[in-house]
Symmetry: C2
Subunit: 195 residues, 2 copies
């Protein structure tokens, strides 16, 4: 009994990550109940973001220019390697990181037939040689694929003499030992530091 246009809008909201039917319905009704101006702005923002945003030529971050804001203004001697453009957002929450980024657009995954050539490792190698990069911080996820990718990058960069580091692994700040999993705890124990 639902009208076609509403159903269609609900379907569109359902394509967003983690949105089920009921949430999509709430969103759709909020748009329909809202002002025409808001709906137009919303509609335009979606189209415009997709039209204008591309990838930074240097690092692979999202940008509406040829080279992104981060690459333009920051210290290019330190490069943080991430899996996806959206990981840059997470890293940027650390306010005191002043280096630039390199997006791999994936990780090495033999199970999914994705080798080093399918992700932007060659480009990283070129950047390190050309830009006289001093440190490469590998910030891939602490899972099997992320670890394998980090190991591969460390190996392939070794001949260039650049310092390659990896984000520390251990228990989360503010968490509780009781809820930490064994793998994390064992890693935290292994990497313990003098105080």
């Amino acid at each position: 009994m639902q009208e076609e246009y509403i159903e269609n809008l609900i379907e569109q909201f359902r394509t967003l990550p983690g949105v089920g039917y009921k949430t999509a319905q709430r969103y759709a009704y909020s748009v329909i109940e809202g002002s025409r101006e808001r709906a137009e702005k919303f509609s335009y923002a979606i189209k415009e973001a997709k039209d204008k945003i591309g990838f930074c030529k240097v690092c692979g971050n999202f940008t509406d220019k040829e080279i992104c804001n981060i690459c333009e203004k920051r210290n290019r001697k330190i490069v943080c390697v991430v899996k996806d453009p959206k990981d840059i957002i997470s890293m940027e929450r650390v306010k005191n990181y002043d280096g630039v980024y390199h997006v791999l657009f994936g990780t090495i995954s033999p199970l999914e037939h994705r080798g080093p050539d399918q992700i932007k490792i060659k480009e990283l190698l070129q950047r390190v040689s050309a830009d006289k990069i001093e440190e490469v911080i590998v910030a891939t996820n602490p899972d099997v694929e992320g670890e394998a990718t980090a190991m591969y990058i460390a190996k392939i960069l070794a001949p260039l003499g650049v310092k390659v580091t990896r984000l520390a692994q251990g228990i989360s700040m503010g968490s509780d030992l009781e809820y930490a999993d064994e793998v994390t705890l064992s890693k935290a124990l292994e990497d313990r530091k003098p105080i």
Copy 2:
């Protein structure tokens, strides 16, 4: 350091109910990472829903026609009175309701200076007289304003001799007595039924 177009899209997603910055960011990135076709469909669906959807002349439900699907196909002798068009969705989940609806577009609220004339009560009165309606089911929320509105509707419809009912109040199915509030429990006790 975020690009303007992304920030703008995030702002738009934040206008949705219950969406904070981080969720809006996830949504925005999902749109930017998705295909151009999907972004266009999404953008179009928002504009189109707002452009095409208006209110049903009879009941006030959302529709793209003059009279909504429900008014057209169902038993017009039973009318369920709701506060907002979206409440129709909730009622429609009850599969065996075959009557039609009447949207009040608000409730009586002295605190917010909203009297019976500010909501569609006159229109309800006209429908009841004109369409020979047999039963009016008041399905406003079980809160102070909803109760006041229900009482007012019952009073004003009394001279017309139409049967006016109210949704039953009591403990929710599948819930636990331990967690029921006193007001609900007291109401459930008061309206107890022989088994």
